[in-house]
Amino acid sequence: MGFLDVTQKLFEGFGVSCLLFILTLVFSLPLGLVISFGSMSKFKPLSWIVRTFVWIIRGTPLMLQLFVVFYVPGLLFNIQLFSGDNGRFTAALVAFVINYACYFSEIYRGGIEGIPKGQYEAAEVLGMTAVETFFTVILMQVVKRILAPISNEVITLVKDTSLARVIAVAEIFFVNEMDYLAYGIVWPLFYIAVFFLVFVGALTLFFGWCEKKLSYYRV
């Protein structure tokens, strides 16, 4: 049970955590934008459906959603949506993407709706098209407004990945529980804390850098 063995084991688990983290962001950041457009749609039935969906997802625990995604298709319908070696990971990813996309969609919506009407009107009277308005005028203002809430969510996501263990995804905590905690070895827990601190620290630096990059203007 050398330090190196533990490091290697935990790195494997942490690799799974990181992959879950990255893939969740890759899919949920754009999906969130689609959902936010849906919830802002002028076609009322669509906006109601989307908002109800967002309400359900944000109003129920992620842990429950993990259970539902992974177990319910098999329990109720006898179908194995997530079979095979990566089935659990895929199921976790699906639950995470849906959950985070809904959170991101609300952040986007707040950011977009928070842009003063005058910005759109100024763009209009200057003859800009809707697309030009979005990309030249609105986008960077939204980015600046949502940077702080997005960075909060992203850092929360780092730690939320550990929830995937409830459907037995071999992320770092699950690995630790099965390999070390099961033998009464506690110190890797603190080691894990270091992994997370370093990761979150890096993210904090990254978002700080972004904030600095955007500090040349104020919205």
Partner: protein
């Protein structure tokens, strides 16, 4: 035939009628001041002229420009084209915060130049070169316009680094850059400290005094400004034009009771 002819313009928001039928004309090079108490429909009229609101009834016709019939349907592209004949300076400036003063003036010009060049050159090197040339031209034009409003030394500043008066002058330069046939101002000094209104009004006045005097419509609370700069004054109340005439007529000898009461309150 007048340069701008507005006939029977009506606008409702839901069940509330805001303009009950507005008729007026103006000539090229004229400065028209619109005065009246808040809620009288001045701003709505201006927004209808810039197609930020769509009038429910009536026509707007600009000689050599466009004819807008409220009863007709227009595509967004058609509205954009008509809108570009008009310019609008807002009460709250509405500069784009992420761009410098120069970029605020230059970017909208360049976008339109690019659109025109994309139509002219389908693709390739020639188009890139033409767009590059347009950039140089438009940048120079933007610098010239900013210099004209007295901001030659503030071109690299972001809006938050400018005073309200300076921001409004950038907004005026930005509107001028689009070369509108008529430039509209919606209470351009209402959001400013009294100390800063002078610099903005001076700029507007200089536009009138320039060689080819600008055609302008100014919604304003500055009665003195209206009296001295405008060629024509309209007093609006409750969604209709109550009084219309030269400044001498409107301020000196108003026929309408409402106008007299209003001017008395404003202590001209």
């Amino acid at each position: 035939m007048a340069f701008l002819e507005v006939t029977g313009l009506k606008k409702r928001f839901g069940n509330t009628s805001v303009l009950h039928g507005v008729d007026f004309t103006m000539e090229k090079g004229e400065v028209l001041a619109i005065i009246g108490s808040s809620g009288g429909g001045k701003t709505t009229l201006l927004r209808c002229l810039n197609f930020l609101e769509m009038a429910n009834e009536g026509t707007i016709r600009m000689e050599g420009g466009f004819t807008f019939h409220a009863a007709k349907q227009y595509t967004p592209a058609e509205i954009r084209e008509m809108r570009l004949k008009m310019g609008l300076v807002f009460q709250s400036f509405n500069l784009f915060p992420q761009y410098t003063a120069l970029e605020n003036v230059y970017i909208p010009m360049q976008l339109r130049a690019k659109e025109a060049l994309r139509a002219e050159y389908p693709f390739g090197h020639a188009r890139r070169e033409a767009i590059g040339n347009a950039k140089v031209r438009n940048m120079a034009q933007a610098e010239k316009l900013l210099a004209e409003v007295g901001l030659a030394d503030k071109m690299g500043n972001y809006p938050y680094q400018l005073s309200g008066g300076q921001q409004q002058r950038v907004a005026i330069a930005r509107a001028l850059a689009m070369q509108p046939d008529i430039l509209c101002f919606d209470e351009p000094t209402s959001a400013l400290d009294p100390a800063l209104t002078g610099e903005v009004l001076r700029v507007i006045r200089s536009l009138k005094d320039a060689e080819n005097g600008r055609t302008m419509i100014v919604v304003t609370h500055e009665m003195e400004f209206a009296a001295h700069v405008a060629d024509k004054v309209i007093f609006m109340a409750d969604g209709v034009i109550e009084e219309m005439g030269t400044p001498e007529e409107v301020f000196g000898n108003p026929k309408s009771e409402k106008c007299r009461a209003f001017l008395h309150g404003e202590k001209v």
